[in-house]
Amino acid sequence: MAKDKLVMEIKDFSFTYSGAEEPSLRKINLPVLKNKITAMIGPSGCGKSTLLRAMNRIHDLYPGNKYEGKINLYKEDGTKENILDLKKENDFIKLRQQVGMIFQKPTPFPMSIFDNVAYGLRLSGTKNKSELEGHVEKALKDAAIWKETKDRLKESALGLSGGQQQRLCIARAVALKPRVILFDEPTSALDPLSTGAIEELITELKKELSIMIVTHNMQQASRLSDYTAFMYLGDLAEYNTTEKIFLNPEKKLTEDYITGRFG
């Protein structure tokens, strides 16, 4: 554990939604380790999505939310920056290119499969056609959806099945070569087969990048992740290696939750 490098680090982080009296997150301290999968579990409404959405500052699309504490993002050279200090739209864009996000429901854009995957690259300035084609092919291969899509790249992405759409969204995120991808219940709208494909894909992806995944599926968390964070009512109740959390948790609360005694 000592050798693992940090990619993000959440420090004494509190978050209050605009207009809310109580904070939805209180003093969270959580590391995100490089090339590892960190799972976040906990009952509905405990603040998992809220935390995830702070990590790429998507919350800032809506005014009036309050942050406290720090969320550090470590660069390749070991220096870090507190992403809560970012203020300009340009800085948000750079952050979001490094910290990608996959949502619960697949969100293909109303354009072709190719354009979906090329979207982020075009936004960040890649214009050259053959370069784009190369990146798109690589991303689709990385997301294990190349075989199904290579003959229909020009067709609308909305014609794909739900599971394929979700893998397309992952390809779209991967194409930007982010350092971290945040997954918010990425398989909860999918059938078991598609879920299996996405899980395999996520495991494969951790060679290249670091992953944080929210899930309500205990098997998924234990199968997939290296570390697990258990959240409860806006607090981080327990964080440890997945093995420890699932086999020998320190808190009674954690044990009750993973054995399904509540929530």
Binding site: Y119, L123, S156
Partner: protein, 284 residues
Amino acid sequence: MSGKLFRNFSFLSATLSFFLLVGIFAILFTYAQEAMQEFGFDFLLSETWEADEDDEGGIFGGYIPIIGTLLSTLIAMTLAVPLAMGIAIFLTEIASDTIGKPVSIAIELLAAIPSIIYGMWGLFYFAPIVQSVFGGNGVGLLTAGMVLAIMVIPFMAAISRDAMNTTPLVLKESAYAMGATKFEVIKDVIMPYSKGGIIGSIILSLGRALGETMAVAFLIGSVMSIPGSITDPTTSIPVLLANNFAEAQDLEMSSMYFLALILFVVSFIIISVAKFYFLGRKVK
């Protein structure tokens, strides 16, 4: 039992609207026969509209009102589309609730004002402004086109806004999560997603501008002459029909049915083409 009744009822209403359409066409076509036989295709190109002394015959051509209708509609749409889109985008994506709500309500109220009021307002207040800015004598193509634009903008903006509002939040968020700017989200996600509704709003407004009578009657000048410049007075099909219907007889009456038929067919074609071309291709 009641299900069957309802089915029959909806079938009846559906067929009724179809027969209404065919029926109107048939009536226009029948009454236009006399003029069609007399003038044929030249009706479209002839600029004269004159009854004989005895009111029995005359020479009637539709060129001027047809041109007037098309030009005033073109001016209106050229002005209205970008402005209405701007308002809709402002309301869905840019304005905060404190500004957006009142503007939204104002837009809806504006859309409900009867056209004669726009005509009167246009004649007494707007025409002098157009005259002092663009020259001419106040009434004319430009004034009519601009007031038509003002009339259809609220309607177009309100429908486009509703269409844009149907874009799912997560779709916008996932574009932002890819590093898109607000402008890029509007252009790449919101506009394509709500394309059907936006085009629908444009088509409906186009139909309204083509057929608008009251406001245009006040503003276009109602003279049978080809506009030499954009501020010149001319006339349009609905205006000519409204002005001449009371006195017209025989051949002139038939010529007016011919004009009405042309307006009917033109509106019908524009709307069907737009509908099948754009809405039919909407991404599945």
